[in-house]
């Protein structure tokens, strides 16, 4: 139990200070284009959790036993299979939640963490560390997705979770273009907080962690 606790302590930075989207620059496209509403954010967060956690744990348990050329195929197929539970669990929240997010939940199955991070980092971790890392990465993604989805839905449609209570302030907010710009400002806010707390910089997008 204490080992699991220390693993979570090590991985907790993925929630904010090493946020996979805002600091490491991963999964940007799915958020910028796929999260226009809070419901989209929920669908993508559930999918990302199911795709990332089992793949990372599998990589840590069996990754070193697999031949190098086969690993990426196995990881991609596992994360593709994990779309099935995420599809049906999303369906329990709202029947159309997965479908309304378009192609973007499915794209999470071939995003950087399940395909690349699993073979570069998770393979060298203990299963408990991989589990804690996966959960914290998924929660960090969900944190960003929910804030972005709520802000864009409110500005773009004047609603939250489909309940309209104001006039749309900025209808263009739902376009992918503004997704990039909102995410840019959110990333700057994280940098601002890190600057105040005097925390050293992490490898940004395009760094070795991105591949």
């Amino acid at each position: 139990m204490s080992e699991l606790k220390s693993c979570f302590k090590e991985s907790a930075s993925y929630l904010f200070l090493r946020n996979p989207v805002l600091v490491l620059g991963l999964v940007i496209g799915q958020l910028a284009a796929g999260v226009g509403t809070l419901q989209n954010a929920a669908a993508l967060s559930i999918t990302y959790f199911f795709v990332v956690v089992p793949t990372l744990v599998f990589a840590s348990l069996f990754g070193k036993k697999l031949p190098g050329w086969l690993k990426v195929v196995i990881y991609a197929l596992i994360s593709a299979l994990m779309l099935v539970p995420s599809y049906f669990i999303s369906g329990t929240i709202s029947a159309t939640i997965f479908d309304s997010a378009g192609i973007y939940p499915a794209l999470l199955a071939v995003s950087t963490v399940p395909v690349v991070y699993s073979s570069k980092i998770a393979e060298n971790q203990k299963p408990l560390s991989a589990l804690a890392g996966g959960i914290c990465i998924a929660l960090g993604f969900a944190f960003t997705a929910i804030i972005l989805g709520a802000a864009r839905e409110f500005l773009g449609s004047g609603s939250i979770w489909g309940f309209r209570f104001a006039k749309p302030l900025f209808p263009a907010a739902k376009l992918p273009i503004w997704g990039f710009i909102f995410l840019g400002f959110m990333a700057a806010l994280v940098n601002f907080i890190k600057d105040i707390l005097k925390i050293p910089e992490e490898t940004p997008a395009g760094g070795e962690e991105a591949k």
Binding site: V115, I177, N191, G206
Partner: protein
Amino acid sequence: MTYILQFLSMMLTALFIENIIFTRALGTSWMFYLIKHPKEIAKQTGLLTIITTLSGLLAYPLRGFVYNSEHRHLLLPMLYIAAMAVVYLAVYFFVKFVFPKQEEYFSLNLGVAVFNCAALGSLLVVSNERLDLISTLGYGIGMSLGFGFATVMLGYGLTRLEYCRVPKIFRGVPIALIYLGLLSLAFYGLVGHQLPT
């Protein structure tokens, strides 16, 4: 002649009007990686083109089976990922036996070139729009070339930004995202769209 024109028009549409990065934000993280490794842009774009074309060809006759299913949003990506896995294995063994000197490069880079959002996204877009085979090939090739085009454009801009006095908190990921957003906005207007009001 009609087929050639259809192929070219779909390719140009995917390259400029529906650019994979500027309009759909597919493969953005991979693009940021390539910007830091400019020598890889041409090779990876070429690989992406081959993978998209081969996967599209392989999955085209199969997609009819899942089109009418109520769960097609789930089944189509799984079908395409399976097709991409087959293409990955075919390309890997082809290179291993025909160009053994290239095996090391391919074993390091082929996985990322095959299993990425740009490749899967272009296949899903094509199937959602129910394009025929010629249009599918044209669109797939145009999307891959559009990815390379966007990477070069963004890389050039970000290199120039390194010489500017960007405020400390905006350095790195924030300025890259804002620049990408503004460039996408410029493309959005350039192809004749208007912002919703």
